[in-house]
Symmetry: C2
Subunit: 246 residues, 2 copies
């Protein structure tokens, strides 16, 4: 079973508010439909949909809101992007099942996430492709905070026992001097190229993604949109990120 993150910058035009990159989304849907691997959980990022609403209301993974309008704007924007993704998936012949994390998850006062995966496992078993997304999440004592797609990927991979994890990004892998790094076993190996990569969005840049993948307990790959079908078919594309002990 594969957990696949479709980066928000892959499927949206990040420079224009709430704009889907239709050709890119269609290509991703076509690649998923063509792949031999059928057991895939998809998580997509916010791109130009969620971040601006979160920023406008000062909501982050740790700073919350009790304003029902703020909750609505963040959640509705992400749901509308999710609708576009599941619509493209159906048009490509897939059987997507929309799963809205705000309805499913919550955090305790310490920020620990509860994410029940029984429904997602049943959804997979019935032949559907669960499609989740970055979203708001109810957070004890803080109202509603942000739950990023990257945090979802890590939890789903662990709790569903994923065989492989893929991060489909706008770049063909983690780069050093323009070249794709083939393999990363520890963050220290790549601290030179990841410095300054954080802070691109409110939910963490490439350094955070690599760090998360290293802690998975399953091999992860960072790759570009052109390599999506090959990744699903098990080919060694992009950068392998594997923090497991040999």
């Amino acid at each position: 079973m594969i957990v696949l993150k479709l980066g928000g910058s892959v499927i949206t035009d990040k420079s224009t508010p709430e704009t889907v990159d239709e050709p890119a989304l269609e290509r991703a849907a076509t690649a998923l439909a063509a792949a031999r691997e059928r057991e895939v959980v998809v998580v997509h990022g916010a791109g130009s949909f969620g971040h601006r609403h979160a920023a406008a209301h000062g909501v982050t993974p740790t700073e919350g809101t009790h304003d029902p309008e703020a909750l609505w704007e963040v959640h509705d924007a992400m749901r509308r992007l999710n609708d576009r993704v599941t619509g493209a998936f159906r048009a490509a012949g897939l059987a997507p099942a929309p799963v809205h994390p705000f309805s499913l998850c919550h955090r305790d006062a310490a920020g620990a996430l509860t994410l029940p995966v029984g429904g997602i496992a049943t959804t997979l078993a019935e032949g559907f492709v669960p499609v989740l997304h970055g979203d708001g999440v109810v957070h004890r004592d803080r109202g509603v905070t942000i739950l990023s797609g990257d945090e979802l990927v890590v939890r789903l991979a662990r709790d569903l026992g994923a065989d492989r994890v893929g991060l489909c990004s706008t770049v063909p892998g983690v780069l050093r001097d323009g070249e794709v790094i083939g393999r990363i076993d520890a963050l220290s190996e790549v601290s030179d190229v990841l410095d300054g990569a954080e802070g691109v969005d409110v939910t963490g840049g490439m350094a955070g993604k690599v760090d998360s993948l290293l802690g998975l307990g399953a091999p992860g790959r960072v790759f570009g949109p052109d390599a999506l079908e090959a990744f699903l078919d098990g080919e060694p594309v992009g950068t392998l990120v594997d923090g497991r002990e040999d």
Copy 2:
């Protein structure tokens, strides 16, 4: 804490597809906003939104579908009605939190429902009003079946330990010869008036509702829209349905 069912026929025009009864919805929102009781979980029915899609695809609480278009049509229609309900609640000054049961729940092969309530409890604790609805639900070996608002009410009341349960219907209570029955302790007391009341929609009529309330472990009341605020404030409106042993 109160679990309140807003009947689909209260907030929609059941005779016209996908038509909200705006004045009725606004009155309900105003009553909720005016009530002293703040801890309320709201579940609304499908009315003219969900039933026709479910019927068109032959989906019921036991007959499922693996068709992604059928899943989408049922879920999207109910989500659009939920958007209207939460929008009216915000306009009335409430802080609604939309909770989509398709994202939260699943059934096993025997039809048993898993409904994690930790997020709903946290949502209440943070001062929001969770607003759920009848929806599709992933069902092991059957694809997607229907999860009715009435089934949700029973489970939420039990698992959240509700103090009281209210069913806001289009009638002022369970009626005998046009008069509201004050109290029902067993289904056998009212079998004369409930005969033939079932089958009005795919998810059970008044007999099913009364039977469910009798099994709750908490007092339930069936009442009309005009009595909503009084019910929330603890007044003895409509029909008391109480199956608890004395």
